[in-house]
């Protein structure tokens, strides 16, 4: 950990960055922490338990606007950083990324190219629970699936933790906050909860890093990350891997499939 602390200290001291977004010891697991002064860096930690996706803070204007930012990035955070770059939400020369090697060593990434290279070398962390869930849901009939999601989403009380925890949910005005017309009922009910989740996941099509932050944030334990996961699978199957031209909803190719249009 000393390696991380000294690295962050020197980045702050030589003014390469103004703020570092990392992790500190939390109640049960590491939690987000922000360091702007070298002498505060001692509280930072970075290990395999640091799973929360810190990329969510990269679009928080009150925190990072006009600042050069360092960030502790896990696999999915790196993926989100690339996605945010693709959507012009980040500036390359304003970001320094600290990531962990397989051996747990601290590595500094200085450019978009280095992030992409590093991501290619890394493998996605195993998500055994999620695979189990996906197998169960895939095995369901359509009506069983409907019953499953109806039951799950009946618990949603629209706290929007899923939206708040998602690095890609950076809209300043969300569809649920638009009331002319009122696309989605603002109160919780099974169908309006579904409306919300369907809209959220549609909006994530081709933009989701599949990090699972939405599901992890849900206080009532609805596995909504499975929806985004299945959307990511569907997009990949039908439209291929994402490329630099943009995500599937914002680009058009003449040979795009249209068989889903009713």
């Amino acid at each position: 950990m000393n390696d991380l602390i000294s690295q962050v200290q020197s980045l702050l001291e030589n003014k390469t960055i103004d703020i570092f977004i990392g992790y500190e010891k939390g109640t049960r697991k590491p939690r987000p922490a922000f360091v702007s002064k070298a002498e505060e860096a001692g509280k930072l930690i970075f290990n395999e338990n640091c799973s929360g996706n810190l990329a969510v803070y990269l679009t928080r204007k009150d925190l990072v606007e006009g600042k050069k930012v360092g960030i502790a990035a896990s696999y999915y955070t790196l993926k989100n950083i690339i996605l945010l770059f693709d959507e012009n939400q980040l500036k390359e020369d304003h970001l320094r990324i600290i990531t962990l090697s397989e051996k747990g060593e601290i590595q500094l990434l200085q450019s978009l190219e280095e992030i992409k290279q590093r991501l290619k070398e890394m493998s996605a962390p195993a998500k055994a629970d999620e695979e189990e869930w996906v197998r169960k849901i895939d095995a369901m009939t359509v009506s069983e699936r409907w019953a499953f999601w109806t039951e799950e989403l009946s618990r949603c009380f629209k706290c929007y933790a899923c939206r708040a925890a998602c690095p890609m949910c950076y809209c300043t005005k969300c569809i649920v906050e638009i009331n002319r017309p009122q696309w989605i009922q603002p109160w919780a009910s099974v169908f309006s909860n579904m409306d919300w989740q369907i809209n959220r996941v549609m909006h994530m099509a081709g933009r989701c890093s599949d990090c699972g932050a939405c599901g992890a944030a849900c206080p009532v334990g609805i596995p909504i990350h499975l929806l985004s996961h299945k959307m990511a699978e569907a997009v990949k199957e039908n439209f291929g891997e994402p490329d630099e031209k943009g995500n599937v909803l914002s680009t058009f190719k003449p040979d795009d499939k249209e068989n889903f249009i009713v």
């Binding site: 049960r28 919780a188 009910s189 334990g221």
Partner: protein, 337 residues
């Protein structure tokens, strides 16, 4: 206060009888890793072992969304159909912990200071609360720091304390509790004189001095402590929605052609749009202002206006927070010399 004994076996039979008497049962149920309050059909679904349910029991008196009245439009005229309390069920809230039972105090204060809130009161008066004193706690619990405790009887009509594997000490606390007891007395036995309830309760350390916190918080209103504490807050409503005393709400229209309902639904002072004016002006435009509002409301404004602290120390907000905004840790920061 009467003290009785009830065995686990009799308790289950008693609850079955309650259900056959047409009273709804709202109680903790475990599913997967989470335990939460639900209306249950079978007492076998009951969970006795959780430290804490995900949500508080408040939804039973203040639902997440609720109809306030209905309207029908006809040409230029409108007919109103008032809130109808006759359809509301009698509910036994069973197995809530003392921090939840006591939460109906501050909740009731908000809904009844100055003017009476009919929808809340109609639901509340149909509730009987049988709480379960705490024999387990976790690091998030801090009821003893806000005037409560694992065996606090305030707010409960009856409180059960597990005194052995298969039996409970039953304290009959309120008149309502007594009526309930009289009705179901055949399930109870006499309690031994020498049962000392406190021997069975979990110990919950006091984390801060509440008066000191309230005083410092007011003094530090303009300090940067709020900014520091709230930096990682992502502005969702999880803390408010699981809280037993948070009562902020929105009023919305559920329109279907010429008929519709006016709905009240949960809202949170932590949401960026909560105070946004139509003009675009927002009096609490930053998350630190909103975090300060949440804490000041609970620990300063409510004590001053309603003579009750807006927190029962249940720790739910901290357990539910996606980014570990641990409330008692943050409150401790105000309790320094």
């Amino acid at each position: 206060m009467k003290r009785k004994y009830i065995s686990r076996h009799s308790l289950m039979n008693c609850l079955k009888k309650v259900q056959t008497d047409g009273i709804s049962l709202y109680a903790p149920v475990t599913r997967g890793e989470q335990t939460d309050f639900r209306f249950i059909t079978s007492v076998d679904d009951l969970s006795f072992d959780s430290v804490q349910t995900v949500r508080s029991a408040k939804a039973v008196a203040f639902p997440c969304s609720e109809k306030l009245f209905s309207y029908t439009k006809e040409k230029n005229d409108v007919q109103l159909q008032d809130y109808n309390p006759d359809v509301l069920p009698e509910v036994l809230v069973f197995g809530l912990h003392p921090c939840d039972a006591v939460g109906f105090g501050p909740l009731g204060s908000i809904f009844n200071w100055d003017t009476q809130d009919k929808p809340y009161n109609e639901r509340r008066k149909r509730l009987t609360l049988i709480s379960l004193a705490c024999t387990r706690a976790d690091e998030y619990c801090f009821c003893t720091s806000v005037g409560g405790g694992p065996g606090n009887t305030e707010g409960s009509d009856i409180q059960l304390t597990p005194i052995q594997e298969d039996g409970y000490l039953a304290e009959i606390i309120t008149d309502k509790g007594n009526e309930w007891y009289e009705k179901y007395s055949s399930f109870f036995e006499e309690a031994a004189e020498d049962i000392r309830k406190e021997n069975y309760l979990v110990e919950i350390p006091v984390k801060f001095n509440i008066e000191e916190v309230e005083r410092k918080m007011t003094e530090l209103f303009e300090s940067d402590i709020w900014q520091l504490q709230s930096e990682r807050c992502i502005g969702c409503g999880a803390c408010a929605f699981v809280c037993p005393t948070c009562a902020c709400f929105d009023i919305q229209e559920d329109a279907h052609g010429n008929t519709g309902n006016r709905i009240r639904c949960w809202d949170s002072c932590g949401f960026a749009l909560f105070t946004l004016h139509t003009s675009g002006d927002n009096p609490r435009s930053t998350q630190s202002q909103r975090w300060r509002q949440r804490l000041m409301h609970k620990f300063s404004y409510m004590p001053e206006r309603l003579t009750v602290v807006g927190c029962t120390g249940c720790g739910r907000c901290s357990r539910a927070c996606p980014v570990d905004m641990n409330l008692s840790d943050n409150l401790k920061m105000f309790n320094y010399e």
